[in-house]
Amino acid sequence: MNFTLSKEQEMVRKMVREFTLREVAGIAAEIDETERFPKENVEKMGRYGMMGMIVPKVYGGAEADEVAYAITVEELSRACGTTGVICSAHTSLACWPILKYGTEEQKQKFLIPLAKGEKIGAFGLTEPNAGTDAAGQQTTAVAEGEEWVLNGTKIFITNGGEADTYVIFAMTDKSKGVKGISAFIVEKGTPGFSIGKKEKKMGIRGSATTELIFENCRIPKENLLGQAGKGFGIAMGTLDGGRIGIAAQALGIAQGALDETIKYIQQREQFGRPIGKFQALQFEIADMETRVNAARWLVYNAAWRKSKGLSYGKEAAMAKLFASETAMYVTTKAVQLHGGYGYTQDYPVERMMRDAKITEIYEGTSEVQRMVISAATIK
């Protein structure tokens, strides 16, 4: 048993923290207010290797490990949930499936620019009628000569419109149900592929969440990712890992709200002394701190198992379930302890509470996580 991070992981934390304090924290409120995608920071994150964390060097990545990746998303999210999810969706949902299931040609063509941060990735699974029940895919892909022809609509796609490279799921053989789903790589700008409505959201407002529309969108045959009919497995495998990213995002949001609260209660005075001197508030901090730490070890454990090649589906689900619920708990408490100020945009905890909510919903709701966990537990 060893709970210490490696020197590399510690240094990655130090580096991302410094980056976050200088580049990310200052614009977090603005991109939330104006719903602006922080392109300039994403470019810098690419330059510093944060967009290719888990990708081997030969494919342009930083070849870090999963724990360092979780730490990166955590530290970014500590100041800005939006920036955290941009990194997470790009890394877990686009880089990873191409790395895992892609052909050498696909890796050369698509993965390298993604890992270098020259291009941004996204993942299209959810449809208006296929959310938690992802098997109900209505988007279709039909083979025609040397091409696949895609038709259908995806919704709630993180990095939609901003991304260049999309991993898209579609039914290639309806008669086979989930075994008829296949995965494809679709590039922005392909004729027949357009970006639909951009959602106006409660939180993570700087992150682009859009519809993707495919109307007779023709892509080359070689853009099939993995084997035909294996798409559902690819989607589920990808989401297992994605949950670690979202769990890390939730952890970061919780830690950020806790940091803000500790700072606030030491400054804010009522009844002639800092409110942090009151035991009732001190105990709240104790509960918040305890939950954040518990979440952290669940997240790092899942990430560690993944990097060691051990099974991690259940652990990732537990990490996401607990970390996202912790993020909601801690941010709600944080707003409460800030009193009236906490409800205003003068303090970041209001934004953090709005950002936290989505972590209980996307990449598998808390209910889905409980399904995954119980199924793996009650055998």
Partner: protein, 262 residues
């Protein structure tokens, strides 16, 4: 082109607090960092390397074994090579002895074109090691460098003055000390961090590795010694004004006027 960058690991003096009761320094939790001006020095060297991959950047520091971490950070930013001068004999050195040790290391490194150093370290704030190293190596120096460029054979730098700057032309080899106006240091990169541990090494040189005598380094070779150190005493407590804002400012203004301060 070969560049040597002299760096130092320092306590982040911004984080140092004084125990209000005992008047002593609170050291716990004060992080050790790469000295800020030295980071600018390293950045300038790395910027040259960005433009020309032939540029080779060696960072050198004198310090305890823990300075390894800071050197890894320099490697993670992009330096090619790191050397740690570490020996019990080097300890307690003033700037005279420090520059002597560094000079011996630079001579062992051999060929170089430019030595970059930070103007000063935030723990000592002396700004002496750079010029003294240049003197020992017999090369020219330009301190307080706020802009740098290479034009053919010449190096053109702006040297900051209190009320402007001098434009100075000099030829390699030269020692330049950087101030924060020189550039914006880059961050480490994730890949750089892993390379720093997996592929690059921090060479450790002890006294035995350098062509310098024991009596020429460390505390014993230092002409200056600290006779005494103490925490500065705050001035006696003044008056805390009371009342409404209007009352307070009136008391203040009245008192200053009566005491002929204004």
């Amino acid at each position: 082109m070969k560049i040597i960058v002299c760096v130092k690991q320092v306590p982040d003096t911004n984080e140092v607090k004084i125990d209000p009761v005992k008047g002593t320094l609170i050291r716990e939790g004060v992080p050790s960092i790469l000295n800020p001006d030295d980071k600018n020095a390293l950045e300038e060297a790395l910027a040259l390397k960005d433009k020309n991959p032939e540029v080779h950047v060696t960072v050198v520091t004198m310090g305890p074994p823990q300075a390894d971490e800071m050197l890894r950070e320099c490697l993670a930013m992009g330096a090619d090579e790191a050397i740690l001068l570490s020996d019990r004999a080097f300890a307690g050195a003033d700037t005279w002895a420090t520059s002597n040790t560094l000079a011996a290391a630079v001579r062992k490194i051999g060929h170089y074109d430019i030595i970059f150093a930070g103007r000063q370290a935030i723990d000592g704030d002396t700004a002496q090691v750079g010029p003294q190293l240049a003197e020992r190596l017999g090369i020219p120096q330009v301190t307080y460098v706020q802009q740098f460029e290479i034009q053919g054979e010449d190096i053109l730098v702006q040297r900051a003055l209190e009320d402007g700057y001098e434009l100075i032309k000099v030829k390699a080899p030269v020692l330049l000390t950087a101030i924060k106006e020189l550039n914006h240091p880059r961050y480490m990169s994730v890949g750089g961090i892993y390379d720093a541990f997996r592929e690059k090494e921090v060479k450790v040189w002890t006294l035995a590795d350098l062509d310098v005598q024991k009596q020429e380094v460390g505390l014993d070779a230092s002409p200056t010694q600290v006779k005494r150190s103490f925490t500065p005493e705050p001035k006696g407590k003044g008056i805390m004004l009371k009342g409404s804002t209007k009352e307070m400012v009136e008391q203040l203004v009245g008192s200053l006027k009566q005491k002929h301060v204004i």
